[in-house]
């Protein structure tokens, strides 16, 4: 497992600085003959060295070379980072040389895997890094940093401490039943503490689920009768951001057809064809499919026409979307106002771009974006973590039910213990098979 791996750790773009990262037992031995100026085996650890990469008497590039010796490195192995400012061709050339000299191309996330397996980072941090690698937008980067900072660990540790304080008091009551001076944990005390923790956990879960949706992109559908201005709205949203609408082709089952970034948040548009072709959506796709679309969507932008009265189609769509996260948009407010519908609507004119910002703000509001991005908020964005949070929440709920049913305290404690363990699973404090299976699948381990 300690063969030497190499990867370009920055985006391969023309003109940008690129960093080539090498990690493993032979990192120094492989790079040393290529570096002209110094003998790298004698260079002090954690220094940056100026020089040139040369191969077969040909100078490839002028570089800054960071040398970090084990164990105080990201992977706990010897690590070298070569900062080149050359072209894509130069970077590729260096990579080619390194690969012929004994490096192996790293798999995605392999540096992190090593950091984890070598015990440098714990599970939440590892997952945070994985997400950092995968993060696409600025928003996601912020989330990933939040997770990395150990905030998640602190929050979970705090909750676990409170649960274990209750548990240990119950245990003392059981093991020393004859000592009447020791405080007896009462059902009421458990009820109070658990309700409070349940509330906190429920809030975190809600924010986390929103956070996850936002991170992966909000599945959004734009609905409205023909000629109401759906494509104008789309264009107005795009105009501002100068983003690109990408078509994801291939899978027929994937109903996401394009993604746009609005205010730093990714919207995955469903059925953009229906919008862009400006045809009679309901007629074309049928009622059944429009209901499917509504069910599938995490956000609905329902566009009404201000210059016309509310139609049957409008009423149908308003009714079907009333329990979803939706924004009702009154378009064409630049024309004469004939539409009486006014409940929670945002008035815009896609044509003049008036009110488009309000739509963006509304999206952020609906998904608690401000709260999620708040530096003080702690949220989880990883499916495994959210599942464990929910499981801990369920256990706390069971404990609370137990108190209401007047169950014996040591029985209620079983649920408290389960909650404590599930929270421990999040920060990798317990060992469970599922955890490792999960990890192995993510890290492509166990061949």
């Amino acid at each position: 497992m300690n063969d030497t791996i190499v990867a370009i750790s920055t985006a391969l773009l023309e003109g940008a600085i690129s960093i080539i990262r090498i990690s493993g037992d032979d990192a120094i031995n492989i790079v040393n003959p290529l570096f002209k100026e110094k003998d790298l085996t004698k260079v002090r650890s954690h220094t940056i060295n100026y020089g040139h990469i040369a191969y077969k008497d040909e100078v490839i590039d002028e570089v800054l070379l960071s040398i970090m010796k084990a164990p105080k490195t990201y992977t706990k192995e010897d690590v070298i980072e070569i900062n080149t400012h050359g072209s894509v061709a130069v970077v590729n050339k260096i990579m080619e040389i390194l690969l012929t000299k004994g490096c192996r191309l790293a798999e995605p996330g392999e540096f992190t895997k090593r950091a984890f397996l070598n015990g440098r980072i714990d599970l939440t941090e590892a997952e945070g890094v994985m997400d950092l690698i995968k993060s696409e937008t600025e928003f996601n980067r912020k989330l990933a940093i939040n997770e990395l900072s150990g905030k998640v660990s602190t929050l979970i540790t705090d909750l676990r401490d409170r649960i274990i304080a209750l548990i240990s008091n119950i245990e003392v009551n059981i093991d020393y039943p004859e000592y009447e001076d020791i405080e007896q944990v009462t059902i009421d005390k458990i009820k109070k503490e658990v309700s409070k923790m349940k509330q906190e956990l429920s809030k975190i879960i809600k924010l986390s689920e929103d956070g996850k949706i936002i991170k992966e992109g909000i599945k959004t559908v734009i609905l409205g009768k023909p000629n109401v201005g759906k494509s104008s709205l789309l264009n107005a949203l795009l105009e501002e951001e100068k983003a690109i609408v990408t078509d994801i082709k291939g899978t027929t089952r994937d109903i996401v057809e394009g993604s746009i970034i609005v205010g730093g948040i990714k919207l995955n548009l469903i059925d953009t064809a229906g919008v862009r072709k400006s045809k009679d959506v309901i007629e074309k796709i049928g009622i059944e499919k429009s209901i499917n679309l509504i069910n599938e969507a995490e956000l609905i932008l329902l566009v009404l026409d201000a210059s016309d009265e509310l139609s049957e189609e409008d009423k149908f769509l308003l009714d079907k979307t009333k329990n979803k996260k939706r924004i009702v948009i009154m378009n064409k407010t630049d024309l004469e106002n004939k539409n009486k519908y006014s409940y929670d609507v945002i008035k815009i004119s896609a044509k003049t771009a008036v009110g488009v910002d309000d739509v963006k703000e509304k999206i952020k509001e609906i998904f608690n974006v401000k709260e999620i991005l708040n530096a003080n908020a702690t949220i989880f964005t990883n499916t495994r973590q959210i599942a464990l949070l929910k499981s801990a929440f369920e256990s706390l709920n069971d404990a609370l039910t137990g108190t209401l049913e007047n169950k014996e305290i040591d029985m209620i404690e079983i649920d408290l213990k389960l909650a404590w363990e599930r929270l421990g699973d999040i920060i990798g404090a317990n060992y469970t098979e599922e955890l490792v299976d999960n990890l192995f699948s993510r890290f492509c381990l166990g061949k």
Binding site: R114, P177, E178, I409, M411
Partner: protein, 604 residues
């Protein structure tokens, strides 16, 4: 002279070990320093207690003696935690120290294949890392195929009182001077441990009228599944309750420098138990507590000593007098025996396999306080397992290893051989993660079949178990048919409600069933949801327990293990992945690495 099995020491571990081995047909020699101290209780006059009471039930379910012996000799018995759930209920008895010893000796003497001898063992005869026999301090040589060391607190024991250190065992007995040094020479790492005992007060000098009385339970209770009550529950001997006060605390604080523990007389004092601290320890550590609870327990009906539980100390005699006289009801008390601390050698239990055989010397087993535990019940629980496994080993059979979801004894031994200990280890309910499965009421259902298959449990007891199982099944079937039309429910469902008791419906059953079978059915229904959860968690552990680690694994070849994890794994050499997860310092990531390694190189 040659025996199949030699057991060294006849305390609670030694008695169970010798009985198990002899009952399994092995010619067994039990060596004790003093035959009058067989099954002695040098500390509290009590058998059972939280968790410990369940261990006694388990010993009985395995075919051991402690439960029956306690039943025969008890002065008082109660069920602890009876207001809590069934998982944490546990029996505690006051035992008569005189009759307890007498009864046990009587049983030992009447057991086939068992010989008792008075002597002190000096050294072990070891050839090719295998035990061959022992030599005694009076220069006898006795050969054996297996040996079980159950030496209690006698290895190089020192009694500490104030600034006095006396080389002797409990209440002035001779100590074993050479055995522990010789164990060290054989490669064992030794621990130095310490425990203490409180003063004994003359019964007639105590003013009981000022003290709160503590009675036994108002019903017949027994440790043994024989269910024979040897006592009259209406006529039990009471205990009494008193408290320390500010004056007591002042005396202790003023004289702290005279305590053997706090006086700094010795540089290398052994490690004492946290959960059984001396009174000076309690006063120092819990400064804001105005009083500490003390129990006055009768030691025997044949002499006058009252045991002052909670008042163990290593203060000099004159200070002990002042301390005792400051207590309510004990103003004029006469101390018959002073409190003392005792220090002794034990072996590091990480040197043991889960069968209690030592890793260093084949066919040598150890059990009880020599393994770093504290308590009669913990000792006896290990003793019976060591006795069984020594016998199984000589028959070339697989050892009996109880898991953490089988028994408290399993929890105890797993903790010892996996985590080790630095202080005398006491079993607590909180150490058992599956205690809802490890109840006092179902110890027979958990263990008796295993014991019968090994050959330790008599046929009639096994038949009794089978009958109980049959009754449980019958009741289960019938309660589904007892319906409550208004409630649209049957008794099976109805029993889940906290207020519904099966006893109130027993007349509706087809015939009369035993109390024990009815109780099982009620518990199984009332706590069904919780039991399912506990079983699910236990299954996870059992699954990991099936992932064996090859005995020949070379941890230095497992790349990427953290250094600490590597050292611990090398030292403890866990048998399964499950055991490895419980080693402190071995993190989840190390386990992941280990599993990948096993997959790759052993295709596990």
């Amino acid at each position: 002279m040659k025996y199949d099995v030699i057991v060294v020491g006849a305390g609670h571990a030694g008695c169970e070990a010798a009985l198990a081995s002899a009952r399994l047909g092995k010619e067994t020699l039990l060596i004790t320093i003093n035959i009058n101290n067989v099954a002695d209780m040098p500390c509290n006059p009590s058998i059972g207690g939280s968790a410990k009471g369940i261990v006694v039930r388990e010993i009985d379910a395995l075919g051991g003696e402690m439960g029956r012996n306690a039943d025969k000799t008890l002065l008082q018995i109660k069920m602890l935690n009876s207001s809590k759930g069934p998982a944490v209920r546990s029996l505690r008895s006051q035992a008569d120290k005189v009759t307890y010893k007498k009864e046990m000796l009587n049983t030992l003497k009447h057991t086939k294949n068992l010989t008792i001898m008075e002597s002190i063992v000096k050294d072990l005869i070891v050839e090719n890392k295998k035990i061959k026999g022992i030599t005694t301090e009076d220069d006898k040589t006795i050969y054996c195929d297996a040996c079980i060391l159950t030496t209690g607190t006698y290895l190089k024991a020192d009694i500490l009182v104030g600034d006095k250190r006396t080389p002797e065992g409990p209440h002035g007995e001779k100590r074993a001077n050479f055995l522990s040094d010789n164990l060290a020479k054989l490669g064992f790492k030794l621990l130095r441990l310490k425990t203490g005992t409180p003063p004994r007060i003359e019964r007639s000098s105590i003013d009981f009228s000022k003290l709160k009385k503590e009675d036994g339970d108002n019903e017949e209770l027994t440790f043994s599944f024989d269910n024979i009550a040897y006592y009259d529950y209406k006529n039990q001997v009471p205990c009494y309750l008193t408290y320390t006060n500010e004056n007591t605390h002042k005396i202790i604080m003023d004289n702290l420098n005279k305590s053997a523990m706090y006086g700094g007389f010795y540089e290398h004092l052994g490690t004492g138990p946290r959960y059984c601290p001396s009174i000076e320890d309690k006063v120092v550590r819990f400064k804001d507590k105005k009083r500490h609870q003390l129990f006055l327990e009768p030691e025997s009906m044949y002499y006058d000593d009252i045991y002052l539980q909670g008042f163990s100390t290593s203060m000099p005699h004159d200070v002990q007098e002042d301390m005792v006289h400051s207590l309510m009801g004990l103003e004029n008390a006469k101390i018959l025996r002073y409190a003392y601390a005792i220090e002794y050698d034990a072996i590091d239990p990480l040197q043991l396999k889960p069968s209690l055989e030592t890793k260093i010397i084949e066919n040598l087993f150890t059990a009880g306080q020599i393994n770093g535990t504290s308590g009669y019940e913990e000792a006896a629980g290990q003793g019976i397992i060591a006795g069984i496994n020594a016998s199984l080993k000589l028959d070339n059979k697989e050892p009996l290893i109880l898991s953490r979801s089988d028994a408290y004894i399993g929890v105890l031994i797993d903790d010892l051989v996996t985590k080790g200990t630095i202080e005398p280890y006491r079993l607590l309910t909180s150490r058992a993660e599956f205690r809802l499965l490890l109840r006092s009421d179902n110890a027979d259902l958990r263990l008796s079949k295993k014991a019968y298959e090994i050959g330790l449990l008599p046929k009639e007891r096994y038949d009794k178990l089978q009958l109980k199982i049959k009754e449980i099944n019958e009741i289960e079937n019938q309660i589904k048919k007892i319906t409550f039309p208004q409630e649209k429910s049957n008794l099976s469902e109805y029993l889940k409600r906290p207020e519904v008791k099966i006893m109130d419906y027993k007349d509706k059953l087809e015939k009369e069933y035993s109390k024990e079978a009815l109780e099982q059915v009620e518990i199984n229904h009332k706590y069904e949801g919780y039991i399912i959860k506990a079983k699910k968690e236990a299954e996870k552990m059992i699954r990991l327990g099936k992932k064996q680690i090859p005995e020949d694994i070379n941890y230095s070849k497992v790349e990427n293990l953290a250094t600490e994890a590597r050292q611990k794994l090398e030292k403890i050499r866990p048998r399964t992945i499950d055991q490895a997860t419980r080693i402190s310092g071995v993190n989840p990531s190390d386990i992941a690495i280990l599993m990948v390694y096993l997959k790759r190189f052993y295709n596990e």
